[in-house]
């Protein structure tokens, strides 16, 4: 995207200037019949508009001013996503499409033109008169979305802009859109307004594919539905020579459509919608690429052009439905790689009509930005606070900002930060460096509640080791003392209402990605004694802050899985300051892959969260706020102009900090805020943000505009961040420590494991998305312990096993990763009603699985959790809605004492593939006549032995990362050719076909959602496994189907850093060399990916199509196939793979 260097205020402005002659001169107010001046080059008279645009002649060299008859777009400062296309029409004829020509001149003869301003899904037309010798201008006005909605409308809901029935764009509150004048409609809906009875999930594809040779042009098609569809009726009609049928499929309650074929096709859909009441509805089509025409009750309502350039994925039909049955017919073109879906959601909308008037093309007066550099600016100080304590990091010598770090990695923290103070809080206030000399680096200050002391993390200059420790000093820098001693790196300190100090302390083990030692929350006395570990996780828990109600809010990396089926994400969690009551607060919901951290609670109760890119190495981004009264559902964007993708309209925000309420504790809760802000706009994505452009200063935050407010402090060549308002703070509620000293256990109790907010009907086949347990199925519970990888363990590196497990069918979440070694603490039966009450070891990283009658996991807990000593931890259900209070259930588990599941650590079992499973396979399955070397019955190769197989991830492609397993493991975990899924679905034995074979029956997916259509054949034939061996298989799969699940040293071959690196190098070298054998070359270069993706396209191809295909693919893959291999591969394909002529 071209970047423009206009003043900031002009960014929102877009002016299309239709210039007659003097573009630089103000338009003379000439009448329509003003005759052309003599100096004007010949042009057609006004009265006869040109049927063809005249090519622009070069400006005639005029003595005074050049004459350039024509038109050009003045595109400077254009907001790229505001408009997408600009087309000039004369009559019904498009004479120019300026989409790709922004900023370039277009010369036109005088006449009346229609300029269509396009928004991807639709366009708005406006008439423009090009007059000789006059500057014409496309009239536009600015629509500010803040002003459109009523004040009580939710801030975060998307507002959809329509012109008539044409959907134009979606904006959020605070955003703008420049539009031709006219009447527009803005609509939004609150999710709770949805009426479930009108949700249509499924559409049916009917009608054959037209022989696809060229992109279908549906706009020229005439396809009037002449008769209303009736159930069961098929009707055929002809368009030209082509006969098409459409079929009534009715309003089906659920299900997505997976078209049988691939590629682009035309789909004819019809359904009836039973509207409970007349009104405006929206029908959403997802993944609808390539255009759409819709008729409602025989009348065309929408037409979306097939736009291969922009590929609108979502098309919304804006329908006014009559009460009762409405017949909707849709014709659409879909082209998607594997599947597409049409999904209709009927929604009640709130509609607002807005009018846009021409504002003369002038941009709105830009809000004057505060000066970037501090100086003698007489800005008044921020009221209500004594000053500001904050953190400074000088830029690096090359001028780049040096303060970007992953919050859980100590090695990336700045090495030369210092803590400073400013009093009063204004740019010319007295500045002091509080920590500079003594500490090599000091950061993350937190203020005591009386406003007199600061606790921070730092490492000293003089010390030999570079360990960060917690220190405390007065706000004036005096009274410095060290708090934590002889611990690992300590980070993120924070005062507790009890007077203790909370901090995150690095652990001895490495995290689940083998990246670094994860920090976990600890607390200690003010003198550093009595260190108590509060949180237990295999990844990091950082950035604690105390909420007003006494809970500790912190950012937790939950690798074990989450609701969205991704493996790992940041969630904001809460815990009582004694470490009990671990609970999700927010963040474990879409949008995913955003880092959420550095929360602070404002005086009005809202919790402000910094959200930034998923890449997590720059901890500034946009600010959102959630309210504790509904933390999962009240997320609102505070800084709507900060974009993570595309063009960023504002800078970046970081480190929010609440300002005291100016009206006192009894007054209205307004909640001011300080923040660090780096100004600047740009087109770069956040993770590409140019570090040399980052210049963070301290500002107040203006909630009204969603932008930085008053400048507080900003020094040149230095990043200023982590501001703290020095003032007396309200002490949060003190929640007493209820951990029982000396206790070794705690209790976990679940009232009703069938209570779940997971959707009951779900077609997704990811393990994490399986439907909740059916009532009556839960018979037991398995308690598992997770443990981190010791530093000395060389087996884990670079994290690529996850690739294999994730890319294969259905693994990924729910701990389906090989990095989480687990062992079984024990089993407990559940009561008849499914409730359970188990006594488990305290202060241990655990996870629970509910089990069915076969002892197979139904649901796997999606987080690592723990109990503190003596804690009695209760859950309403399994994955219950966090807004669900307890139904007053008389659960049977509450009638009994907790069941002890307290196997001591040395007796806890693991199941390891190499040690426990492979011997059984060797004995029972991999005989030569079965799945052995020769036979490979059913295409399954379960070869014995430990010859390691290099597994290259299909996703990482040429990157020679891989893991090394034996053939049997690879066969079980990897999807074999021509099979729809893997035989083993990690963490879900009851959905693993391997287990079905062993038990001789299908166990999971009792309904028709089973993707494996074949009946489970009992294995081994005629000689079922002994019960104990079957159970071992089940445990192995439920624990994650681990190749290596033996903690610490073990004698079995597995990951060996040296060995796997060597093999990786060998594989790389092998791939770098040309392969002589054609079949081998085909397998290595093509088959490994294409077969893995089950793409059978080549089989349908005729030999003449092969050479261009291979050439094209090779070009795309940048010469992946060596030149000498190219011909052999083509020949091999033509002879062996593709369709014979």
């Amino acid at each position: 995207m071209k970047r423009f260097t206009q003043p900031m205020g002009a960014v929102l402005a877009l002016a299309i200037i239709v210039a007659g002659v003097f573009a630089a001169e103000p338009a003379p107010k000439a009448g329509p019949k003003t005759s052309a001046p003599k100096a004007r080059p010949p042009a057609k008279p006004q009265s006869k508009p040109a049927t063809k645009p005249k090519p622009a002649p070069k400006p005639a060299p005029q003595p005074k001013k050049p004459v350039t008859p024509g038109i050009f777009i003045h595109g400077a400062g254009l907001k790229p996503h505001s408009w997408k296309t600009f087309a000039v029409y004369q009559g019904s004829r498009c004479i120019n499409n300026w989409r790709a020509r922004l900023g370039r001149p277009l010369n036109l003869a005088p006449g009346e033109y229609e300029v269509r301003v396009g928004f991807g899904s639709g366009w708005v037309a406006t008439k423009v008169q090009v007059r000789p010798n006059a500057v014409a201008r496309v009239p536009t006005g600015l629509l500010r979305f803040r002003d459109v909605l009523p004040p009580d409308a939710p801030g975060a809901v998307p507002q959809k802009l329509y012109h008539g029935h044409t959907y134009l764009a979606t904006r959020y509150r605070g955003e703008t859109c420049r539009l031709p004048p006219g009447e527009y409609t803005v609509r939004y809906h609150a999710p709770s307004d949805m009426d479930p009875s009108t949700v249509l999930r499924a559409w049916h594809q009917v009608g054959p594919f037209p022989p696809k040779r060229k992109p279908p042009q549906i706009l020229d098609d005439v396809w009037p539905p002449e008769q209303a569809p009736k159930p069961g009726l098929k009707a055929a009609y002809k368009v030209g020579k082509e006969e098409r049928t459409w079929q009534y499929v009715g309003a089906r309650p659920e299900g997505n459509v997976y078209p049988g074929g691939k590629g682009t096709g035309v789909f004819y859909l019809t359904t009836t919608i039973d509207a409970k009441e007349a009104g405006d509805y929206t029908l959403l089509f997802k993944q609808c690429r390539g255009g759409l025409v819709a008729w409602l009750n025989g009348k065309q309502v929408q037409r979306v052009a097939p736009d291969t350039r922009y590929r609108p994925k979502r098309v919304e039909l804006f329908l006014h439905l009559a009460k009762g049955k409405n017949v909707l017919m849709v014709k659409t073109v879909a082209s998607h790689y594997s599947s597409w879906q049409l999904r209709g959601v009927l929604t009640h909308w709130r509609t607002y009509q807005v009018a846009v008037t021409d504002d003369g093309g002038k941009p709105p007066a830009a809000k004057p930005k505060p000066p970037i550099l501090a100086g003698g600016d007489p800005t008044p100080a921020v009221p209500g606070i004594e000053g500001v304590v904050f953190c400074q990091v000088p830029n690096r010598e090359d001028g780049r900002c040096a303060m970007h770090y992953e919050q859980f990695r100590i090695v990336t923290r700045p090495s030369n930060a210092r803590i400073c103070s400013l009093a009063p809080a204004k740019p010319d206030g007295a500045f002091r460096d509080l920590t500079g000399k003594r500490f090599a680096s000091a950061m993350q200050p937190d203020l005591s509640y009386d406003g007199k002391k600061v606790v921070f993390t730092a490492r000293e200059t003089t010390k030999k080791d570079d360990t960060f420790a917690i220190y405390e000093m007065n706000v004036d820098g005096s009274g410095l003392r060290q708090v934590t001693k002889n611990l690992n790196h300590c980070l993120d300190p924070c005062y507790l209402p009890s007077g203790r100090i909370l901090f995150a302390c690095m652990q001895d083990f490495r995290d689940e990605y083998d990246r670094d030692h994860p920090p976990l929350l600890h607390s200690c006395n003010p003198d550093g004694s009595d260190v108590d570990q509060l949180t237990f996780n295999l990844s990091s828990d950082t950035a604690p802050v105390v909420l007003a109600d006494g809970r500790v809010l912190f950012t937790s990396w939950q690798h074990h899985g989450d609701h969205e089926g991704e493996a790992g994400n940041f969630a904001i969690c809460t815990v009582i300051p004694d470490g009990t009551g671990f609970n999700l607060f927010c963040g474990n919901s879409p949008p995913m892959s955003k880092t959420k951290s550095y929360c602070q609670q404002l005086t009005d109760g809202r919790v402000v969260v910094v959200e930034t890119s998923g890449h997590r190495h720059y901890n500034a981004g946009y600010l959102t706020a959630v309210h504790p009264r509904r933390p999962l559902a009240t997320r609102q964007f505070l800084t709507p102009e900060v974009q993570l993708n595309g063009t960023n309209l504002d800078g970046r925000f970081a480190s929010p900090y609440p300002l005291p309420d100016p009206d006192g504790p009894e007054g209205p809760k307004t909640g001011g805020m300080l923040c660090a802000y780096s100004p600047g706009r740009g087109t770069a994505q956040l993770y590409e943000y140019p570090f040399e452009q980052i210049h963070e200063g301290l500002y107040t935050f203006d909630f009204e505009s969603g932008r930085a407010g008053r400048l507080v402090f900003d020094a040149p060549n230095v990043q200023d961040y982590d501001p703290i308002a020095v003032t007396k703070r309200r002490v949060p509620d003190y929640v007493p420590n209820l951990v029982v000293p000396g206790a070794k256990t705690g209790v976990m109790c679940c009232v009703n494991p069938y209570l779940s907010d997971r959707p009951k009907q779900n077609n997704r086949t990811v393990v994490g998305q399986l439907p909740p347990a059916e009532p009556g199925t839960v018979k037991g519970v398995r308690v598992m312990e997770g443990f981190g990888v010791e530093d000395t363990d060389p087996r884990y590196h670079d994290g690529f096993v996850i690739d294999m497990l994730q890319m294969t069918f259905g693994a990924g979440s729910n701990g389906g990763s090989n990095f989480e070694q687990k062992r079984i603490i024990g089993y407990a039966p559940t009561e008849k009603d499914g409730s359970f009450n188990v006594e488990v070891p305290a202060d241990t990283v655990i996870s629970l699985q509910t089990l069915d009658a076969n002892g197979m996991a139904i649901e796997t807990q999606l987080t690592w959790t723990w109990v503190r000593p003596g804690e009695h931890r209760l859950c309403v259900g399994c994955h219950e809605d966090r807004e669900q209070a307890l139904p007053n259930l008389d659960c049977l588990a509450m009638h009994k004492r907790p069941v002890p599941v307290l196997t001591p650590p040395d007796k806890r079992r693991t199941v390891d593939f190499r040690r426990d499973i492979m011997p059984i396979i060797e004995k029972r399955c991999s005989m030569p006549q079965c799945h052995g070397e020769k036979t490979k019955a059913g295409g399954l190769d379960l070869r014995k032995g430990f010859e390691l197989v290099y597994h290259r991830s299909g996703y990482t492609g040429r990157k020679i990362n891989g893991a090394f397993f034996n053939r049997a493991y690879e066969s079980l975990l990897q999807a074999p050719p021509n099979r729809i899924g893997t035989l083993v679905r990690p963490c879900s034995a009851r959905h693993s076909p391997l287990i079905w074979r062993l038990y001789g029956k299908q166990l999971g997916w009792s309904d028709n959602r089973n993707p494996y259509k074949k009946p489970a054949k009992p294995m081994p034939p005629g000689k079922p496994l002994p019960e104990a061996e079957k159970k071992l298989f089940v445990e192995w799969v439920d624990l994650g189907a681990m190749w290596d699940n033996i903690p610490g040293e073990d004698p079995l071959p597995g990951f060996d850093a040296v060995e796997s690196k060597r093999m990786g190098r060998e594989a790389t070298a092998k791939l770098a060399k040309p392969i002589a054998d054609a079949e081998e070359a085909f397998k290595v270069r093509c088959f490994e990916c294409h077969d893995a993706r089950k793409n059978n396209k080549m089989k349908q191809m005729t030999p003449d199509k092969i050479p261009p295909l291979v050439t094209r693919m090779n070009a795309k893959r940048k010469g992946w196939i060596k030149p000498s291999e190219l011909q052999p591969i083509i020949q091999y394909l033509q002879q062996n793979v593709c369709r014979k002529k």
Binding site: D152, A153, P154, V157, A190, P191, S192, D193, M194, D195, P196, V199, D549, G550, I576, G581, N583, P628, R629, R630, P631, L632, A633, T634, E666, D733, Y734, V735, P736, L738, V747, C749, V751, D757, P759, K760, N837, H872, R873, L874, V876, E880, D881, R882, E883, Q884, A885, L886, P887, N888, L889, D890, C891, M894, H895, K896, R897, P898
Partner: protein, 650 residues
């Protein structure tokens, strides 16, 4: 027209809903319990001398200690809204306030512990329910004096007046019935039996339906479905036509109002989760606080319950209910958190009619009312302990009686505090008063979920079994009354706390998850010590003497061996005995249960350590099969009835 009618009803009747039993009234009747004879024998812990039991003199002393606090509790407006009448619960007066100027016009001494108040349609007469006198005072508003005192059922609390002013209804908390009073004759006409512990009632605009909210359940506490209900009375037939139960648990029902169209009653209550261990408070684990929408027209239509709490903040102890003048809103006062919930009735109706998919059912949904549409807002009540509230028919403002601040706060219809009218009580709280306040305060509790009164309404018990962790998990025990607990150490059913003082401290720590300041703890302890036993009105003549049946029962009491473990005056030895009431759920089996005092046994149902006996008769019969809990099997039916009568008179 309907609106105007409604206003009057809302102001005069429904708005003045107020808890009776919850309000700790430090007053006792003249009739003392049996005077102290000798100190209880074999007191293992240094017991207080029996003389410490509060006699009438002590009660008077306690009254004096209250130091003239007003404790406004219920409000009713005169027609037109010119005058607001406020009952002052501990000052025993009815205060009139000029609504326009906000000035106190004057006060009229009425009976003891006045609670419910209603104004006649002509505005000339005001009716006040005197809870401790079991009477209704008829006050001449112009003359400012009581012109008649009408006896009614025991402990009348809420009152409701028919639109034509001819019939007055009182909810009688102890006699579990509704008194119907002919206002012309100034005489009780009849009584309609209702559920246990009726608190407040409201009359439909057409006067045909009377809705009564209840505090307690009639079921034994061992019933996991234990719940109170909302009774719907056909006033013409004079009987209960429907007992409306929430899909969740209903207990501690307080205020109730009827919508102006008469289609629904709106009742507030608590929703305790007593079936599980109360080891955490978050997510409404122990108590949630609910508003139930009760359909009146169709007897079979289900009650829809919604929670007033949200995910991280409870709305403890909802009390008064009033519908706004324009009927668009509902106001609910929360005594525990000193706030008023303003509920958008239109939005509530919409939410109930349009359940979202995959949402939890409304009666357990903590987020329902807090959606973006903002169905509910909470505003400051302008003082501490908001009880009754009423909507002015003149301007729609909301008047809130703040019990512990001795003021009446005036909020505008949107809930913004406009002014506060001081009723003139002392500005400083005595230790006992402060303790009473803290006992009723949930704002200090973790996330404001519960106050002490959430399980000990009026320092007594909610009749529910709770599984406190102090004696192990899974052995639920019936909540005990705290009245006189300081006289009968140890505390708790298994005596795991040495004294009431220790138990109070641990209660703060383990139930509310707070550590009270030492002076706060002392205040609460002092308050609990100051609460007198409230003498039973049952089976006693006006002068306090036992009636015939109870007199006979006293003989049976001795004969059956009851007095061995339940000797007067406290009717307990403070020892623990195994009386064969263990069930497998209890443990450790070796430890017997503490002997409870029998004073106030008439109001502490259900009985036994797990509340398995709904009535005293069940204690003597089905719950004592082996005669280990007194020799009761040989008693004749008459003897048993006499014994129960005697017990109820204690």
């Amino acid at each position: 027209m309907i609106g105007r009618r409604w206003i009057r009803l809302a102001g005069a009747v429904a708005g003045v809903v107020l808890p009776a039993a919850c309000l700790t009234v430090l007053v006792a009747a003249e009739a003392p319990p049996t005077p102290p004879a000798k100190p209880a024998p074999k007191q293992p812990v240094a017991a207080k001398p029996a003389a410490a039991i509060r006699t009438t003199d002590h009660v008077r002393a306690a009254n004096a200690k209250r130091g003239g606090y007003k404790s406004p509790i219920c409000i009713a407006f005169a027609p037109g809204g010119g005058v607001a009448y406020v009952t002052c619960h501990t000052a025993d007066v009815l205060v009139g306030i000029d609504a326009k100027s906000g000035k106190v016009i004057g006060q009229v001494p009425v009976g003891r512990a006045p609670t419910g108040v209603a104004v006649a349609p002509d505005g000339k007469t005001v009716y006040v329910a005197n809870t401790l006198d079991h009477t209704v005072s008829v006050v001449d508003a112009a003359a400012r004096k009581v012109v008649a005192t009408v006896p009614c059922g025991y402990e009348p609390t809420g009152v409701a007046l028919a639109r034509d002013g001819k019939r007055l209804y009182t909810a009688n908390f102890i006699s579990d019935d509704v008194s119907v009073i002919d206002t012309a004759a100034r005489k009780e006409v009849t009584r309609i039996a209702v559920g246990k512990g009726p608190t407040y009632l409201a009359l439909a605009p057409d006067g045909k339906r009377l809705v009564v909210n209840h505090m307690f359940s009639r079921q034994p506490a061992t019933d996991p479905q234990q719940t109170a209900y909302v009774a719907v009375i056909d006033t013409a037939a004079g009987k209960v036509v429907a007992e409306k139960r929430s899909p969740g648990t209903m207990l501690l029902g307080m205020g109730v109002a009827v919508t102006p169209d008469g289609a629904h009653a709106l009742a507030v209550h608590s929703r305790p989760n007593f079936n599980v261990t109360p080891s955490q408070l978050n997510q409404g684990w122990v108590h949630t606080n609910a508003l139930s929408v009760v359909p009146l027209a169709d007897p079979k239509a289900p009650v829809r319950t919604v929670l007033l709490d949200n995910v991280s903040s409870g709305a403890a102890n909802p009390h008064g209910v009033a519908v706004a003048k324009d009927t668009s809103k509902l106001y609910v006062s929360h005594r525990g958190i000193h706030q008023v919930s303003v509920v958008d009735l239109g939005r509530l109706k919409y939410l109930l009619a349009h359940p979202a998919p995959n949402d939890p059912p409304t009666h357990v949904n903590l987020g329902l009312l807090w959606r973006e549409g903002k169905t509910v807002r909470r505003v400051w009540s302008g003082g501490k302990g908001p009880n009754g509230l009423a909507v002015s028919p003149a301007d729609g403002s909301v008047w809130v009686a703040n019990y512990f601040s001795d003021n009446v706060a005036v909020l505008n219809a949107a809930g913004v505090l406009k002014t506060r009218i001081d009723l003139g009580g002392p500005k400083e709280m005595t230790v006992e008063r402060r303790g009473e306040f803290l006992f009723h305060d949930a704002a200090h509790c973790f996330q404001q979920w519960v106050s002490c009164t959430s399980c000990h309404p009026g320092t007594r018990a909610d009749g529910v079994n709770w599984d406190l962790l102090n004696d192990g998990i899974s052995n639920h025990k019936n909540a005990k009354s705290l009245v006189g607990a300081h006289l009968t150490p140890p505390s708790m059913a298994l005596g795991v706390r040495a004294s009431m003082e220790v138990a109070a401290e641990k209660g703060f720590l383990f139930i509310q998850f707070i550590v009270p300041e030492p002076d706060e703890l002392k205040a609460v302890q002092a308050y609990l010590r100051s609460v007198p036993f409230r003498p039973s009105p049952l089976h006693r003549a006006k002068d306090g003497r036992l009636d015939e049946s109870a007199t006979r029962g006293k003989q049976v009491f001795a004969k059956a061996g009851c007095a061995m473990c339940h000797p007067a005056p406290l009717y307990t030895t403070c020892e623990s005995y195994d009386v064969g009431t263990f069930v497998p759920r209890d443990y450790p089996q070796s430890k017997p249960f503490d002997t409870p005092a029998l004073l106030e046994v008439y109001r502490t149902a259900p009985y036994l350590h797990d509340g398995r006996a709904a009535t005293l008769d069940e204690v003597l019969t089905v719950c004592n099969p082996e005669d280990r809990h007194g020799r009761t099997s040989h008693l004749s039916k008459q003897d048993r009835a006499d014994l129960v009568a005697f017990l109820e008179s204690l």
